[in-house]
């Protein structure tokens, strides 16, 4: 994981730091500001607004079913990962349904 970090191509959507290698190592992502302003500054880049139709999720992103904000991680997300949605205070687990990664709330 000591590859140099790649630059952002545009605000809110990042290049992965390293391509997925065959041994299943996860891609890393450098997160940039997204314009999301509903959590303290230090956490803002971990969330972004869901744009609705036409928007798509990157490998490090998952949608919060409770408040419909996109949750982001600095690494690729996989089934079984735990993520938190700070805007609505939910704890979520990443699951797969019909081939798509989804977050399910765990109380």
């Amino acid at each position: 994981m000591d590859d140099p970090l790649l630059e952002l191509n545009k605000a809110g959507s990042e290049q992965p730091e390293a391509r997925n290698s065959s041994d299943g190592a996860r891609q890393r992502f450098v997160l940039g500001e997204t314009g999301f302003n509903e959590v303290p500054r230090k956490y803002r880049k971990f969330y972004r607004k869901w744009q609705g139709e036409g928007d798509s999720l990157a490998l490090n992103e998952v949608l919060c079913p409770v408040c419909l904000v996109v949750i982001r991680s600095s690494r690729e997300l996989r089934v079984g990962d735990r993520v938190y949605c700070m805007p609505c205070m939910s704890r979520l687990i990443v699951t797969r349904e019909d081939g798509i990664l989804l977050a399910k709330v765990v109380y």
Partner: protein
């Protein structure tokens, strides 16, 4: 490396302590309320309204005020019987959010030419919503944490969340800005309610049928209010004010219908 903390790496205990704190609230609202006055940029232009349009908007805002007043009274009453000090601190942030919502809606009414908003609110109040409020405050008086959370943070706030969001999309610029800020606050309240109730239900599954009964009684009152509002604003058709609420109940494991 930068000193950012990846929130997803926190333990659940640390996560809850963080998001329920005043400090979190302070830095969160700073992001979207900084530079605003009564919930919007003071330089936003006022739109001109046609006669009936203005009437509907005023009635709608008056009823939003009833909902906010209910939440203000209920959330403050709940502090005394919050299950832990962190929940009490979170509720205190909700209290001020609800007070702010009431204040910004009242201020908007004044901008629209309503000279005595408090009287106007009472006159235009929707009866189902008043009844809903009374029932909510009864649960608070009985110090019934689960019922209060269900009625306020799940039923009322989930429906408000949908209604405000839909309304913001078609409203005049000032009303839209005010509503957008309110929705950002409601996200916290709604999420707190669902998650806390979800945790409580894990440990006390027997409360489920009682809560389900309460939900059946009260969601019709809230639903009729918000559907009426959506209709008067011409939002009907595109907006289902109950969808968000039903999805929440689904996640909490309550049966449909």
């Amino acid at each position: 490396m930068s000193e950012t903390v990846e929130p997803h790496e926190l333990s659940q205990e640390d996560f809850l302590a963080e998001v329920h704190s005043f400090q979190f609230w302070l830095e969160a609202v700073d992001g979207y309320l900084g530079g605003t006055s009564f919930g919007c940029d003071p330089d936003l232009p006022e739109q001109t309204f046609a006669g009936e349009e203005l009437e509907f908007l005023i009635t709608t805002l008056c009823n939003y005020c009833i909902g906010e007043r209910a939440a203000l009274e209920a959330s403050s009453g709940m502090i005394r019987f919050a299950p832990d000090p962190e929940a009490a601190i979170f509720l205190a942030t909700q209290v001020v959010d609800e007070g702010r919502h009431l204040e910004v809606f009242v201020h908007r009414l004044k901008m629209l030419g309503v000279s005595d908003p408090w009287t106007e609110i009472d006159q235009r109040a929707n009866h189902s919503l008043l009844k809903f409020k009374d029932r909510l405050l009864e649960f608070v008086d009985q110090r019934d944490w689960e019922a209060s959370l269900l009625v306020q943070n799940v039923i009322l706030e989930a429906m408000e969340f949908s209604a405000f969001q839909a309304h913001a999309a078609s409203a005049d610029p000032i009303t839209a800005a005010v509503l957008t800020g309110v929705v950002k606050d409601e996200r916290r309240h709604m999420g707190f309610g669902e998650n806390d109730l979800g945790r409580k239900l894990l440990h006390a599954p027997h409360t489920r049928s009682r809560l389900n009964q309460i939900a059946r009684e009260l969601n019709t009152l809230a639903l009729s209010t918000f559907s009426e509002i959506a209709e008067s604003l011409g939002l009907q058709g595109e907006t289902d004010v109950s969808a968000n609420y039903l999805a929440t109940m689904d996640r909490l494991g309550f049966p449909h219908g």
